[in-house]
């Protein structure tokens, strides 16, 4: 009679086959990125053979004015988009949390629409929208970035709303009552008690909006006019001719910024769970 070994769920992690599978998944996920980063230090024009370590591609990427401008544009857009998205998202989350009103259910689902609609459709819609309303195409810099910023806010703020809404669920309504009881007006109670509680959600949502905006290509591609170029779009245009290590270097920098933002977002979120 074959003996069956009883296993607790976590014991499966100790099985060699399971470990191998896990390793396989990680290799599959991260090899392309590793190669990209590795070859940004490769002392060769061709992206195939390792010739030696160098930082010259970073210098070259930095000296590329267009690339630098594109990166600055991207950071500017992401920054403005984050501020607007956090305000809009937080207000939306608060309204759905606090009030009851007709069609609340459908409206709340509708709020998630920009998250699920394919980016390509969204991009086309944005393009058509700006054309239809005759949005001025010839504003001076940096106002010619307005279209991109508006497009980014449209898809980024629902993410903020979802994160903040989740955070508000753990709010103890007696805290607000206590503030009122101690003499605060409704506004003062909101400022002194509710906003501090929302804070981890605001930070996490904001960083999410920042990353989303920073690396968006599709929607930006449709929303950008002549003379407005963002980092992902610039990289795309460079890659069309050839994938140079310069692109690798630039991409590595973006990965770094994105990872940093994500780590901060996760930190803020874990602070959320720890507190409640």
């Amino acid at each position: 009679m074959a003996r069956k070994i009883a296993r607790a769920p976590l014991d499966y992690l100790n099985m060699p086959a399971m470990k191998a599978w896990l390793a396989g998944v990680f290799i599959f996920l991260y090899t392309p990125l590793m190669i990209l980063i590795l070859f940004s230090f490769n002392d060769s024009k061709a992206n195939v053979v390792w010739k030696g370590f160098t930082l010259k591609w970073y210098v070259k990427a930095f000296e590329n004015t267009q690339l630098r401008e594109a990166l600055f544009n991207s950071l500017l857009i992401a920054g403005v988009c984050t501020v607007i998205s956090v305000v809009l998202g937080a207000l939306m989350a608060f309204v759905f949390w606090r009030f009851k009103f007709p069609f609340k259910g459908p409206l709340e689902s509708g709020m998630n629409l920009p998250i699920v609609v394919p980016e390509i459709c969204f991009g086309v819609a944005v393009l058509m929208f700006f054309a239809k309303i005759g949005f001025p195409n010839d504003l001076p810099y940096p106002f010619n970035l307005t279209q991109i910023i508006l497009a980014h806010v449209t898809f980024a703020f629902p993410f903020v709303a979802i994160v903040v809404r989740a955070r508000l669920e753990s709010f103890n309504p007696e805290l607000e009552a206590a503030a009122l009881d101690l003499g605060a007006s409704r506004h003062q109670a909101f400022r002194d008690v509710i906003i501090p509680h929302m804070k981890p959600g605001l930070i996490a949502g904001g960083l999410l909006a920042f990353t989303l905006s920073l690396d968006d290509f599709v929607i930006t591609f449709f929303a950008s006019g002549p003379g407005t170029i963002t980092f992902p779009v610039k990289v795309y245009s460079m890659v069309r001719f050839s994938v140079t290590p310069e692109v690798n270097a630039a991409s590595t920098i973006i990965i770094l910024i994105t990872v940093l933002a994500t780590v901060l977002a996760l930190r803020a979120q874990s602070a959320t769970t720890k507190e409640s």
Binding site: N172, E174, L175, A177, A178, A179, L180, D181, L182, G183, A184, S185, Q188, D192, V193, P196, H197, E275
Partner: protein, 375 residues
């Protein structure tokens, strides 16, 4: 009560949520400087009433006066009352000091005076050494003290407490009972406490209002609630009671007799009851007011000296015994199958051996023990 002035007057107040009536025409006066308890089972409307005093709910009908001023149009932040919430609601992002100082910002207290008042309030609740702590570094009991200090520092006319002891463990709860009562004595502010725990209410309050299903059942001192309950609900809710249905047979100014099928005998009162004879009524007898005697075959019932022969005595058999240390509770089956509860203090270390399971016993009580209840 009219000789003492009332700090709170509740006049015919009702609160309805759609078809549900949470508070039903309650009229109540709370004297200045008293420790008052609103007592009742969950869902009886006591918390709704407290929230109406604080201003978080507005009455559907009726009026609330605090210190003579109609509160109908006054929002919570303008009322001269402060509350200690059930969850304590201590602000987690502020230190203890900041929590207590928070309410003073709105009272136009000079910055220079704030420090002294906050520290004095913290000293009152014995927390002055923890002023710089954050709430997440404190125990539940300490957080409750923060909530108390935060409310008392505002020098309210009334302090409202919502189930103040329910979240504490048993030992701490006992200690806090005395401490809260002492604190109330010291600060002299009227305390209004909501609780579902009758022991808590009896131990701490000078006066209790018992509520059931939105209605006020009785307002009285703890001992009057226990010894002179106004109805079956109060008699049953406060402590334990043996209730028997019966009819009034004799109704004289100085004594009365109720005949009860349920008891299988007659109950003598050594005082007049001024009830309408013949109608259905109930008699309540507290378990500790019943005497347990050994019953021997063929012996006459041992009627108590202050009652006519055959009254205030009944026969039964011991079925269950709960030994509680300071006393023992005996569940006794009467001849007609009805169960009665008798408690007996364990005055000597051998007392609990006097009666055991299946012992045949007499139960008897004095003429001043039973209480007549008309509803």
């Amino acid at each position: 009560m009219s000789d003492r002035d009332a700090i709170i007057r509740v006049e015919e107040v009702s609160k309805r949520y759609g078809k549900v009536t949470a508070v039903d025409r309650v009229t109540l006066e709370i004297p200045r400087g008293e420790f008052f308890a609103l007592l009742g089972p969950s869902g009886c409307g006591k918390t709704t009433l407290l929230r109406m005093l604080a201003g978080f709910e507005m009455p559907s009908e009726g009026k609330i006066f605090i210190d003579g001023i109609d509160m109908s149009t006054i929002p919570p932040n303008k009322r001269p009352v402060n509350m200690v919430f059930q969850s304590y609601a201590v602000f987690p992002h502020m230190t203890v000091f900041e929590n207590v100082a928070y309410g003073l910002k709105f009272d136009n207290v000079a910055k220079a005076d704030q420090y002294g008042r906050v520290m004095a309030a913290l000293a009152d609740v014995k927390l002055d050494h923890l002023a710089e702590r954050k709430p997440d570094q404190m125990s539940g009991g300490q957080r409750q003290r923060v909530a108390l200090a935060r409310a008392l520092v505002k020098k309210p006319k009334v302090l409202l407490l919502d189930e103040p002891l329910s979240a504490l463990d048993a030992k701490l709860r006992e200690a806090m009972r005395f401490e809260l009562a002492e604190l109330q004595d010291k600060v002299g502010i009227t305390f209004v406490m909501v609780t579902h725990d009758q022991d808590e209410a009896l131990a701490m309050a000078g006066r209790c209002a018992v509520m059931d299903r939105g209605k006020l059942m009785q307002t009285a001192t703890p001992s009057n609630l226990y010894e002179f309950p106004a109805n079956k609900f109060v008699a049953d809710f406060i402590g334990s009671v043996n209730l028997f249905e019966g009819t009034l047979e004799v109704d004289e100014p100085d004594h009365a007799i109720v005949q009860s099928e349920e008891l299988g005998g007659r109950i003598f009162f050594d005082h007049g009851v001024s009830g309408a004879g013949g109608e259905k009524m109930w008699v309540g007898i507290r378990p500790e007011k019943i005497e347990l005697l050994k019953r021997e075959e063929g012996a006459a019932p041992p009627t108590p000296e202050d009652a006519p022969s055959g009254c205030n005595v009944t026969a039964g058999i011991v079925r269950q015994i709960s030994y509680l240390g300071s006393e023992s509770i005996y569940e006794i089956d009467l001849i007609n199958g009805r169960r009665m509860q008798v408690s007996r203090p364990n005055l000597s270390r051998w007392d609990q051996e006097d009666f055991t399971w299946d012992d045949e016993v007499w139960l008897r009580w004095h003429g001043d023990s039973p209480v007549l209840l008309q509803s």
